[in-house]
Symmetry: C2
């Protein structure tokens, strides 16, 4: 745990601000959590912090493809927060069946440790947003998840198969994830389907 | 320029979506733009994409220190977009006087190239938000800039002087930047002032 500088600012609730700083210093570690997929240019693996930034921008850029009435500010907030649990739990590759089984428990434990670094009211809100993202029972959470699933597909296409070929993933396995995209956004689902068909023609899947 | 996959999704304005995809693929390059400051743990230099993510989270966490009525969703959107011009212009170190002189022009040229990759309505909004951030003539832009200035100060403190010592920066030079923080947020300005005093006692500045 990185402790904030021991400074006293006048006119400020220092205890509260220290809790906020402790959280912000802790989450800096997300920049060191590596995902399996590469950057679009293939130069290196993506980290979870820059991935979260890219998703926030993608959600706003694709906002018109969310169901009418979807609160894009809430989607953005959710995406900025959604991967913080990976600081403790690590990134779980979406087709890794063994680790996916323990993922929910590992991530819950991480949420129990990291969000309460914040002042109580802010910790509650962060936890609520993260729970919502995980449960996918609102249009905001489903759209956030759709964007989260689409981004690595774009990277894989631009890396001539990327992690699909590297880990021997089939078209059918990827189509399972396309379903999640379509549940969040009809248009992004249609795009993802077309992308998978094109990737299949190019031999980017196993078999 | 990275071209989107040549796919045709049914029920979608493919030309518009392709423009959005071209923008999102292009801005992936921000993950490769390195800033001078290190991560909080000192392990490597920070890139501009993960920096933007951290700022979006910091702005929301510190929202209560913005002047009353500040639209934090707009601040977040601004921070997610603000560094994209660095894809062409590179990151300009805040105390680099030579490059700071040409910075505005280089960044304007980058904005002229990158934002118009988006469909026209979205390009206009992105440019407007970026102009606002640069002009600092709204509470949102001043608060966004305050958070942007504070973050590398935290990293420097945790790296025992970091870029301050490495580039021979004085306490007076840093206090110029603290002024910008105070203009965006009284409380963050008070904290930054106290942080600089503490850093000064520890010998983290030149002279």
């Amino acid at each position: 745990m990185t402790e904030p500088a021991p400074v006293f600012a006048s006119g400020v609730d220092n205890e509260r601000m220290n809790a906020q700083l402790r959280f912000l210093l802790e989450v800096d570690k997300l920049k060191r959590v590596l995902r399996q997929n590469l950057l679009v240019d293939g130069s290196r693996r993506e980290n979870a912090a820059e991935h979260s930034w890219h998703l926030a921008l993608a959600a706003r850029t694709f906002a018109e493809y969310a169901p009418q009435g979807t609160d894009i500010d809430r989607v953005t907030e959710m995406l900025v927060l959604h991967d913080i649990v990976e600081i403790d739990a690590g990134d779980t590759y979406v087709f890794d069946q063994v680790n996916t089984e323990t993922q929910a428990e590992r991530e819950r434990a991480a949420a129990d440790r990291i969000f309460p670094l914040l002042p109580e009211d802010q910790a509650e809100r962060a936890r609520e947003l993260w729970n919502e993202f995980e449960a996918r029972d609102t249009p905001e959470a489903r759209f956030a998840r759709a964007v989260d699933r689409l981004a690595p597909m774009l990277a894989n296409w631009h890396n001539e198969g990327g992690t699909w070929l590297r880990f021997g993933i089939t078209r059918a396995q990827v189509m399972e994830k396309v379903k999640l995209i379509a549940e969040g956004s009809e248009a992004l689902g249609a795009y993802a389907t077309a992308l998978v068909e094109d990737a299949n023609r190019r031999g980017y899947f196993k078999g």
